[in-house]
Chain length 284, copies 2
């Protein structure tokens, strides 16, 4: 499960779930999206405002999607610490587990050298205590912000229910360690923010899948961004509405489901189909 | 949306949805499967008994999966005629629409030469009346079995709320016209029944995706079968339990999600990933 190759960033529109009739079905839909992100080791997902006229409240839609995706990405033992009871989370029980390495089962990731996600629960001048989902609390010898989420590497057990840990960045971990969720006010702003080396748009009117695959193989980009349109309007329409040229914004515009049997393909379906193709072809 | 190339058959185990905790979530899961089948124009799906020891009642599981998939595949205007109120259909409202050509919207497929699915509602020696989801009933000049589902080509409007039609086979229709659902007592029996020209198994331990793609390109098979294992046990385990040699049963055993970021991939996810790869690569 190591990855010394490129990482995926994904762009999703704020209108992502407006084809779902209620919060329960929106939750199920966003749950499928979160699974797709984890299966293909996506590092960052950016929810961009697509100004879809069907969306009454862009901010509320963006908040719902980003909150549910963040909730899914948070290890279960940290969820109560990081998320209050919110109306958006009413059906969070329907979100499927990610089963990623940073969501360890009870007997996993509890030895020196293992990594864990944690949240700071107490802090003074000399030390901070961190909840890491083990019977013991983790401790570091300096003040951290209470409520902060961080990644730690386990050290020695100190006795008294304490484990010494070191704070680390995700980059030093070889395994897939979850995705970050960000927001952007437009598709162009999202791409600007992600700083990807190769940018792929997906569209039923797209074509050059092999060109995109070859370009990735030839240029070994560190970050590949893959953008999806909305349930009612595709990337070309969104770019048109926001006054940007899709031909300039994207290095390739691909269609990953030629000869589709259904009139429409849902974003959660297109996400898995597209990332499956790019993931397998670039390895091959 | 025409397809003058091979068609997919898919094999799914009876244990398909045992990882879902209740009927509602089973329905959602099977709904995702049905969507995957339609998007990739699958012609036949066979639910094979995989003897998974976690399944208490193989027959009941097979019935639930096949009934929900059949219900989804049936045009909405025929569902009440073909399905009684059954406990398995309690959450059928959660099944997403297929949006296939044989599920026309209100103003589609209503002209001479168009095809429609129908169910015989009345019949005597000289003629039968067929419900085809239009304001008029269809009529043919011979006795058919009341309750039978069939495909018709529309002819002239006869007045008196009648349209002359001709019964046809699906093979004469160029568009994707839905999938058939069948049952089999074992994986070997299912493959025997499907008579595919090329048989692909999917497994995390599989490898030769390109070999499979090349074989399909070289041999132009008419039918390609793709088999999936269960939520708890893969195809190798199922073959072992049923005393058949996976190496002989399958022409290729492929892994379509190399370096997966999640410990497990659900069947509905693997289905979309696998069919997306085969669909796009064989065209390319």
């Amino acid at each position: 499960m190591t990855s010394n190759r490129f990482s995926f960033s994904v762009l999703l529109p704020t209108s992502l779930s407006i084809d779902a009739p209620n919060l329960k079905q929106k939750t199920v839909k966003i749950g499928s999206i979160g699974r797709g992100l984890a299966i293909f080791r996506v590092k960052e997902v950016c929810i961009y405002n697509d100004d879809d006229p069907h969306v009454k409240n862009q901010a509320a839609e963006a908040k719902l999607t980003s909150m549910l995706l963040r909730y899914m990405e948070t290890p279960q033992y940290l969820r109560k610490l990081l998320f209050k009871r919110m109306p958006e989370l009413l059906y969070a029980g329907l979100l499927p587990p990610l089963r990623t390495p940073h969501h360890p089962l009870e007997d996993e990731k509890n030895r020196p050298g293992d990594y864990r996600e944690g949240v700071v629960v107490e802090a003074n001048e000399n030390q901070s205590l961190i909840e890491i989902g083990l019977p013991e609390k983790a401790t570091v010898g300096r003040r951290l912000r209470v409520g902060q989420r961080l990644t730690v590497r386990l050290g020695k057990r100190l006795g008294g229910g304490r484990i010494a840990v070191t704070q680390v960045t995700r980059d030093e971990i070889d395994e897939y360690w979850g995705y970050e969720v960000t927001l952007a006010p437009s598709i162009a702003a999202a791409l600007n923010r992600l700083r990807a080396d190769y940018v792929i748009g997906t569209s039923r009117r797209g074509k050059n899948l092999y060109e995109a695959v070859q370009a990735i193989k030839d240029n070994s980009p560190a970050r590949v961004a893959v953008a999806f349109g909305g349930p009612y309007q595709g990337l070309f329409e969104i770019c048109g509405r926001q006054g940007v040229d899709a031909g300039k914004l994207f290095d390739a515009m691909i269609n990953t489901i030629p000869s589709q049997g259904a009139a429409t393909v849902r974003t959660e379906e297109a996400l898995v189909a597209t990332l499956a193709l790019l993931n397998a072809l670039v390895e091959g």
